[in-house]
Amino acid sequence: MNADQKAVSLLYFALLREQRGLSAESCSTTAATAGELYAELKEKHEFSLSRNDLRVSVNGDFVDFSQTIADGDEIVFLPPVAGG
């Protein structure tokens, strides 16, 4: 494993879950930030939602897309919400 390479857990909800076809996966990435990771995933899985539509959480907290990601992080890209 490359020094830049991290293993992260991803959870998917709503439209992203449908487009990915699964609700969780482990993934190996060299992306430095959450934003870079989404760009990677969007291309790989042909996600239709742009980064502007999403929020991101790392380890259960909302963070910015500039957040640095680390090995073992649980990362969730959140599609537009609609509670209530």
Partner: protein, 151 residues
């Protein structure tokens, strides 16, 4: 107290804990699944939640509420799972000494949670279509809020 519930909210004593001798006003909001949205006939609704974060964010909204308004107690329960027309999707209850605080707080809670809770809802239509709703769009979803299908 904020909680998600897979159990129908109809089976839960929602208001019980709001009974207090010092409370003069109680305002409750209920969001129900309605039978139409954007001119389409809705057959059912499906809620997905990122549970850990939703409970954290819901708790945060209630805490903000008790800081912003003079309330004695504020509670909210949100359903997850597959709901039918008429089912209760969300309940908010606030008690206060004076009524204006309870109204303002109850409205704040439901407005914020519709924007902020990591909960997603998919409308299923009688014509067989379905779509994920987004609360940030200008039109209205099937439970009394604002939103339109995102796909």
């Amino acid at each position: 107290m904020f909680a998600l519930s897979e159990e129908p909210l109809e089976n839960i004593d929602l208001k019980g804990p709001l009974v207090r001798r010092d409370a003069g006003a109680c305002v409750e909001f209920r969001g129900m699944v309605r039978d139409a949205n954007q001119g389409k006939e809705v057959s059912s609704l499906e809620y997905q939640a990122y549970a850990g974060l939703a409970e954290k964010e819901g708790t945060k909204i209630l805490k903000e509420t008790t800081e912003k308004f003079e309330v004695l107690e504020a509670r909210c329960l949100h359903r997850t799972g597959h709901l039918q027309i008429g089912d209760l999707a969300v309940w908010v209850g606030v008690v206060s000494v004076h009524r204006s605080d309870a109204f303002a707080a109850c409205k704040y809670i439901i407005d914020e949670l519709k924007q902020r809770l990591p909960i997603w809802k998919k409308e299923h239509y009688t014509n067989g279509d379905s779509g994920w709703i987004r609360s940030d769009s200008p039109s209205a979803p099937a439970t009394g809020g604002d939103g339109e299908p995102s796909n």
